[in-house]
């Protein structure tokens, strides 16, 4: 992968979790593929994914990387603030739901 050894490729299709579908939908809205209200580019998504610490990157699933990266981009663009995000994450945690899936994603890596 990217010119580095990455083991065997699993070619089977797999089902997506609901949260993964929502992250995908959110990205389509943010880049304006759907809705036409463009708030970021796919290149910013890639840049922020590449900026993940390598050890974190390896542990994350495909959509884990997307959700971290598009959130980072929204902070960089001033759509949301770090403080707003912190408060929202705390509120979600209070509801008893993990804000980000902690289990291993079934997504392709």
């Amino acid at each position: 992968m990217g010119g580095l050894p990455a083991g065997k490729v699993r070619r089977a299709e797999h089902a997506y979790d609901d949260w993964e579908l929502r992250v995908d939908a959110m990205m389509m809205l943010l880049v304006g593929v759907v809705g036409g209200n463009k708030r970021m580019t796919v290149d910013e998504l890639r840049k922020n994914i590449e900026s993940l610490p390598p050890a974190d990157y390896d542990k994350m699933g495909y959509y884990d990387r997307w959700v971290i990266s598009l959130t980072q981009t929204m902070i960089q663009r001033g759509v949301i603030t770090t403080d707003e995000l912190a408060k929202k994450l705390a509120a979600v945690e209070k509801r008893g739901l993990s804000p980000i899936s902690r289990r291993r994603s079934k997504s392709a890596r």
Binding site: G2, E44, Q76
Partner: protein, 100 residues
């Protein structure tokens, strides 16, 4: 990179032998690490597109940059490649990443 290369007009033609710049700048680039420094042949001119290096930094990426599909021999890219000697890999490379 010369300024001459930062334009929308293609300066290479189909069939030209070109080399990918060997560089590792900061920022976001679309040229894979493993192909940097390798030579190939222009397979087609794909058109001109906003520069992703600029789009990644909240700028407009203009002027658009010519994009080429460059064909490399797999045996040239991977040390000890075991497949057919005629296997190729094609990668789309922006003009400012190419040197003659």
């Amino acid at each position: 990179m010369t300024m001459q290369k930062l334009g929308t007009v293609p300066i290479y033609n189909v069939g030209d032998r070109v080399r990918v710049r060997k560089a590792a700048p900061l920022g976001h680039v679309r040229t894979p690490f493993y192909i940097r420094g390798h030579a190939g042949v222009v397979e087609r001119i794909c058109g001109a597109f906003a520069n992703p290096e600029e789009l990644a930094q909240q700028r407009d990426g203009l002027p658009k940059q010519p994009l080429y599909r460059v064909r490399f021999k797999q045996k040239d890219v991977w040390p000890g490649y075991r497949g057919s000697r005629s296997d190729v890999i094609e990668i789309e490379i922006f003009q400012h990443w190419i040197e003659a």
